[in-house]
Amino acid sequence: MTIKIVTDSACDVPPELAHQFDITVVPAYINVGQASYLEGVEISREEFYNRLASFPQYPTTAAPAIGTFTQQYERLTAAGASQILSMHIAHDLSAIYNTARIAAVSANSAPVTLFDTRQITLGAGLLVLLAAEAAAAGQTLAEILTMLNEKVSRTRVFGMINSLESLHRSGRVSWAQFGIGSLLQIKPIMMIADGVISAAAKVRTRKRAISQMLQMVAEFAPFERLAIIHVNAQEAAEELYQLSGDLFNSLAGAKPLIQGITPAVGTHLGVGAVGFAAVSARPSE
């Protein structure tokens, strides 16, 4: 009985961990005008973000082709998988889950079980890693799904948005509904929980935004998993880690995970955004 895990690049599983647990990452597309790139394959994240400001049109992202998922499911089956667990970013926020679902129906493969993480970026990625570890430890698919269903509700992503410009340009969501379709400079703190994005707080300056975000994250301590995420802002992410105080203390011996955010999400948040992905150790109320 071999369970293999498939995910998409928007879940932000770090490449070395994906390699270690043999997780298959299907890249999403990035479209710039007429050109289309496979994220992380045809354009690196670094290159993408460095060129972001100079793209003639604001980039959009698109789900991988159905055929790509089909190919991967079939490849894993040929390599000996008896079960495939395909985990993706929130169904409510992206077409990727549905693409994978259609691929699963038509694939000539071992049974594929779809799982909606109801998260994005490393919020989804942390759940993928928990599943991969459980699979490696020999748990059954049913056990893994029970575990995941319980942990989804304890997972949160927090992100401090550096500039509203990207949000406005990306035009993905009606940001006015969060009261941040504003003419003023605002640093909103977005929270993603159970597939819903909300503006958890709105403040005017970066310093206050960081301190407020740290308070919000602290409310979910202690953590089973905690990571720092950023949109092409490694330095700011490391600073955030320095400011995190004892938030990471509950994670025995683990070195902090600092991970860049996928362009699929980063184009909306804008370069300079930093935040956290967390799985609380406390059962949700």
Binding site: L183, R204, R208
Partner: protein, 571 residues
């Protein structure tokens, strides 16, 4: 009290004793008070403590009196209790500014004291003046002596004494006026800030003018006043006698369309432009505003059934008002003093029923736009010299399509009116007492439309304290205040309401204001430039500040506010 204090007229031609006042007489007394205040309101305006073009007390009290008189100007009512009630109602709806609100409370107290009286005598008036003083005090959360409150309190106490000595109403009013003048003269001894500024309390002065005006009537100066008084307001209600024909056409409408129809249309995917075009074709004086879910309609038509049926074909209609203006012409009922255009929403409401909506007051289209962009449901135009009335604020609250409403007055002289509007409304209304636009914008950040009203209000109050406000304007008078010496016409800078600097050059004043705001410890400076400043000028100034404070982010926005060249918010 000696005879020498009495006006000349009494000495040359002492009138006969006046023992009873009826409704018609009270109406004329109110008119005399209004007219005298109108002639003197600029003097009241000039008594503002701060040398800034802030909250013009005289104008506010005048508009409040106009609104009061507007309710009775064409009345034939003889019953004095009823006339007082109408005056009080008009004052309450038209009250603006702190002194205007207190004046409306005085009228309310008088009306309470005169309730049920066909006519009043000296004892009745003394009693009513005491009720008026008590009501005025209870209308203020923290009553301060040395203000209009002191003047009405002392006046009322003198009235009680006078009523014991004589049944003559003229005698009573003279005594009240004299004591009120004395109380007014003492206000600088009670309020240090008045002494510093070398003025008496402006609201108290306004009240003294009102009392003087009342005595003018008593002295029979009415005919002379009628000839000299020229109303300056363009409001519907003025002290100019209106013909019945004019009254029937308050919005320039025609008697061809005698029915005034108002309603709110609620539906889905409503097309405002189409509704406006269709409604427009039905009559005249059309106002159609709103969004795809809620539209407010006002029109004059021949047949009220036509617009109502049209409304019902598109969704649900509520708050229906149909008035027969022809009948009104015959009954000579006064229209509200507020022009229709200010009572309708300036933007489309984005709030849904059940959510928390915000009514914000803003001076300047730029600031109004910023409040809207942050989710304010309604922006009431008004500010420094243009304080909205209780009725305008009340209308805005009522027009927000939810029953949970937060008001942001954004000016210290509008807070009281906002609280009065809150008390009038059957909705759940809270006032977040913001004194400046930056405070109001900070409060907007904490708005959680889906939260509980109490919680979101607490968060908004807290957020409003996170910002320091600087204001740069021109001195309207010379004064020395808080150790700052100001010459009329100079630039002056205020930080969080305190005068902190003055000078002949804008740049120098700005530098001092920035220092007083502790800019070196700040992260962000928002610069809202006023209607008299060009974008280039503001841009150059922003560059200079940037050069001086390298670590600070500067945000430049067109505020469009009058009088204030710059409003600064620092965080």
């Amino acid at each position: 009290m000696t005879q020498t204090h009495l006006p000349e007229a009494t000495q040359t031609a002492p009138p006969p004793k006046w023992l009873q006042c009826n409704g018609r007489q009270l109406q004329k007394i109110a008119y005399a008070a209004l007219t005298w205040l109108e002639q003197n309101h600029q003097h009241v305006n000039s008594l503002n403590v701060f040398p800034v073009p802030d909250g013009d007390t005289g104008t506010n009290m005048l508009l409040t009196m106009k609104s009061a008189y507007g309710r009775v100007q064409n009345s034939q009512e003889e019953h004095v209790g009823k006339v007082a009630e109408q005056l009080a109602h008009g004052a309450l709806m038209g009250a603006r500014g702190n002194s205007g609100v207190i004046l409306s409370q005085i009228w309310r107290g008088l009306a309470k004291g005169l309730k049920g009286k066909e006519t009043f005598d000296a004892a009745d008036l003394a009693h009513a003046l005491q009720t008026a003083a008590d009501t005025a005090y209870s209308g203020v959360m923290k009553p301060v002596e040395g203000t209009i409150l002191t003047v009405i309190r002392e006046g009322a106490s003198e009235a009680a004494d006078a009523a014991k000595k004589s049944r003559d109403l003229r005698f009573l009013l003279e005594r009240v006026l004299e004591r009120s003048r004395q109380a007014l003269e003492r206000t600088p001894d009670q309020l240090a800030i008045l002494k510093q500024a070398g003025v008496v309390d402006s609201g108290g002065q306004g009240l003294v003018y009102i009392l003087e005006g009342m005595l003018n009537y008593v002295y029979g100066k009415m005919n002379e006043l009628m000839l000299t008084a020229v109303p300056s307001s363009n409001h519907v209600a003025t002290n100019r006698p209106m013909s019945a024909q004019e009254l029937a056409m308050p919005d320039g409408g025609s008697i061809e369309n005698p029915y005034d129809v108002q309603f709110i249309l609620m539906g889905e995917n409503l097309n405002v432009t189409e509704v406006r075009n269709r409604i427009d074709a039905m009559g005249d004086s059309t106002v159609v505003v709103g969004d795809e879910t809620t539209i407010k309609v006002h029109i004059h038509v021949k047949d009220p059934g036509v617009p109502l049926s049209y409304g019902i074909s598109l969704g649900q209609i509520t708050d229906v008002v149909v008035e027969n203006m022809q009948m009104q012409m015959e009954e000579i009922v006064q229209q509200p003093t507020v022009p229709v255009a200010t009572a309708v929403p300036l933007i489309k409401p984005t709030v849904q029923p059940g959510q928390v909506g915000v009514v914000a007051v803003a001076a300047g289209e730029g600031l109004a736009e910023i409040f809207r962009s942050m989710g304010a449901s309604y922006v009431v135009s008004g500010g420094q010299t243009n304080n909205p009335s209780i009725e305008e604020l009340f209308q805005a609250i009522q027009d927000v399509p939810t029953d949970k409403v937060v008001i942001l007055p954004n000016n210290k002289n509008i807070i009281l009116a906002a609280e009065a509007a809150r008390d009038l409304s059957p909705k759940h209304v809270a006032v977040v007492p913001t004194k400046t636009a930056p405070q109001g914008l900070s409060a907007m950040l904490a708005l959680n439309p889906d939260g509980e009203l109490d919680e979101t209000v607490a968060a908004m109050v807290e957020a409003s304290k996170q910002v320091s406000t600087g204001e740069i304007t021109r001195a309207t008078r010379s004064v020395t205040l808080d150790g700052v010496s100001v010459n009329e016409g100079e630039f002056i800078g205020l930080v969080d309401g305190r005068l902190c600097t003055a000078g002949p050059k804008l740049a120098g004043v700005l530098t001092a204001v920035l220092a007083a705001m502790a800019m070196e410890d700040r992260e962000l400076l928002s610069l809202y430039y006023g209607q008299d400043i060009s974008e280039e000028e503001a841009g150059e100034l922003a560059e200079q500040i940037e050069a001086q404070y390298e670590d600070i982010e500067i945000e430049l926005l067109p505020g469009g506010q009058p009088y204030y060249f710059y409003i600064l918010g620092a965080e």
